[in-house]
Amino acid sequence: MPLLEVENLRTYFHTRGGIIRAVDGVSFSLQEGETVGIVGESGSGKSVTCYSMLGLVPQPPGRIESGTARFDGIDLLHCSGEQLRQIRGKRISMIFQDPMTSLNPYLRVSEQIMEPLLVHEKISHRQALLKAIVALEEVGIQDAARRIQLYPHQFSGGMRQRVMIAMALISRPEILIADEPTTALDVTVQAQILELIRQSQQHLGMAVIFITHDLGVVASFCQSVNVMYAGRIVESAPTEELFAMPLHPYNASLQQSIPALHRKGDPLYTIPGAPPDLSHEIKGCPFIQRCAFAKELCQTSEIDLDEPVPGHTTSCQRVLRGELGDLRLKAQAV
């Protein structure tokens, strides 16, 4: 049985400009100790998917229209606020994108790291402080015992992200949701933080949901990947297969646009157009306007995920009908 199973999650935002379908029928599952990537461009609904599970979507304007997220027999989307609060920060933790703004500027680092312990466990202040020092040491901050009484503004960006990780891991969660944890950091620090998350994962045996728009990170980090586009999952597969045999034109074009894969001097490949406006209901395939393989049937047929290869699902109807072979070569010809 998977540790976490999300089914048919729909999160809409009811705004003045209409209903924004930020997440529209997302299903995926997470095994114990597994690392699952969620990839997609900005606004594809990656973050909202995870925020929905933890009840972090502001309501209103947000609303979870349907779906279940089963975690250890509890439906996260329908349990009481108190029940969810007991899980947040204790059994499921989250790391945010920007460490510069994710720490409270007025509280000492020690107080912030201790907070999940003090809230979720019966523990004395002194013990919590000792645990916090250990946690800070674990995330690779040297001289943690001395530095723990500093304020966030006295830490660098990379150190702050380490503090965030220490906060998220201190109560030994079963699932860690990392929402673009390296986006705001420079490249060398990125690598260190990724390595830190990987090591903590092995050490604690937790499962990780890794949200990113960086395919390179996914390739090195995740066991399986869900590719999101316009609020839905368009392809999901074990990482190796996703790269070796893309089964959705969107995934294929994403890989085409990785600069490192181009010969020097060649023009960079970009996907033409822009993602669809989520405030209008999308009929057919959401990628149709930007897809080099679009046919009329993409507009008219029901778009359902299916599994042409075991463990590898796609929503591309043409692929499912066997009309398209290797997407990669054809994309290059365009």
Binding site: F96, L103, R108, P116, Y151
Partner: protein, 361 residues
């Protein structure tokens, strides 16, 4: 990487923490460079200290009247008149040198002047059963129309004015912060209802309400606190609500939610500390406002009941005798203005110190 289970990190029993400098420490360092704000802080502290200690050492009480010694100007020489009664008892009365001539109205003008000049030089003068001599009694700020020591009254009045200022501000901060934070954090319908209540209260004519309160409940000292505090919290609630709304969408609040903290904990530990600078700045500027309000009420005759004094009461009394004894107006007015200026300087300084980016220079 070190791990908790297989190679525990050794934590010494006594840790020498490097204590970080909080944003407050930084603000204090900036405030210390602001001369005007420091001057303000010094003045406020000095005046508060004087008001607390002063009345104990002046040797007079605020209510002790001496009708023969009425309206003596500041630092005037006090003349002691000793009258020997028939049974050889002595009766002592005091007069101020300025008013001593009134004692000898029946004498010609020149004679009066001569006697007064002699007394001023410290000479004794006796006439019948009366002996006049200078005494070492002193009234630093003179006395009022009832012969009460003005210094004592100013200091006691300062106690009232300052405590009205600070207590009413505290009340308004307490209500305003809780109200504003709740409204801002809850949002939606709750926010709407709470802020509409504030709007309604804003629209009520405050002076009329206070007059009504005073009429119905009598002139009560506590009521003054309540009345002023009940009005001043409205602005505080609005300011705090605005700040909380802009804060609650910050990532660290989301992070706090994701750590499973309760709403109350997020409100009191994460949101309110982040608005304290605004609260402190606004509170410092509210104190003079409240004191001014108290003065206005006193001026209208709605302040503390006599014989109690407050700066407002003293100024009001002084204004009525402005032509004959101007010191009764100027001295309390000077104390009052100095305090108000100081508090405003301090408030501005704090605001610059807490928001260095918005400082003028």
């Amino acid at each position: 990487m070190a791990s908790a289970t297989d190679s525990p990190v050794i934590v010494p029993d006594e840790i020498e923490f490097v204590h970080g400098s909080s944003l407050w420490t930084d603000a204090w360092h900036r405030l210390r460079k602001n001369k005007l704000a420091l001057f303000g802080l010094g003045c406020v502290l000095t005046i508060t200290f004087l008001c607390l200690i002063g009345p104990l050492v002046t040797g007079y009480t605020y209510e002790q009247t001496d009708l023969t010694l009425k309206a003596s100007p500041p630092l005037d020489k006090i003349i002691k008149r000793t009258e020997t009664l028939k049974n050889d008892e002595k009766k002592v009365t005091f007069y101020s040198l300025t008013n001593i001539e009134d004692e000898f109205v029946e004498k010609p003008r020149d004679e009066r002047k001569r006697i007064a000049a002699g007394l001023a030089r410290g000479e004794e003068y006796s006439e019948g059963a009366f002996v006049y001599q200078s005494s070492n009694q002193k009234h630093l700020f003179g006395t009022d129309a009832l012969g009460r020591d003005l210094l004592t009254r100013v200091l006691v009045g300062g106690r009232i004015s300052l405590s009205v200022g600070f207590v009413a501000t505290l009340i308004s901060v307490a209500i305003g912060v809780v109200w504003g934070t709740t409204a801002g954090f809850a949002g939606g319908v709750v926010d709407n209802v709470m802020m509409r209540i504030v709007d309604v209260l804003y629209a009520l004519p405050f002076t009329v309400i206070v007059i009504l309160l005073m009429v119905f409940c009598g002139r009560n000292f506590i009521l003054l606190f309540v009345a002023i505090g009940a009005v001043e919290w409205l602005t505080m609630a609005r300011i705090v609500r605005g700040q909380i709304i802009s804060l609650k969408h910050q990532e660290f609040v989301e992070a706090a939610v994701s750590l499973g903290l309760s709403r109350a904990r997020i409100m009191f530990r994460h949101l309110i500390p982040n608005v304290t600078t605004v609260i402190v700045i606004y509170a410092t500027l509210t104190v003079p406002n409240v004191m001014l309000l108290e003065a206005v009420l006193s001026f209208l005759g709605l302040g503390v009941p006599p014989p109690m004094s407050s700066w407002g009461v003293l100024i009001s009394e002084g204004a009525s005798t402005m032509e004959t004894s101007p010191w009764l107006l100027w001295i309390p007015a000077a104390f009052f203005s100095l305090t108000l200026f100081s508090l405003n300087f301090l408030g501005d300084g704090l605001s610059d110190a807490c928001n260095p980016k918005s400082a003028k220079d």
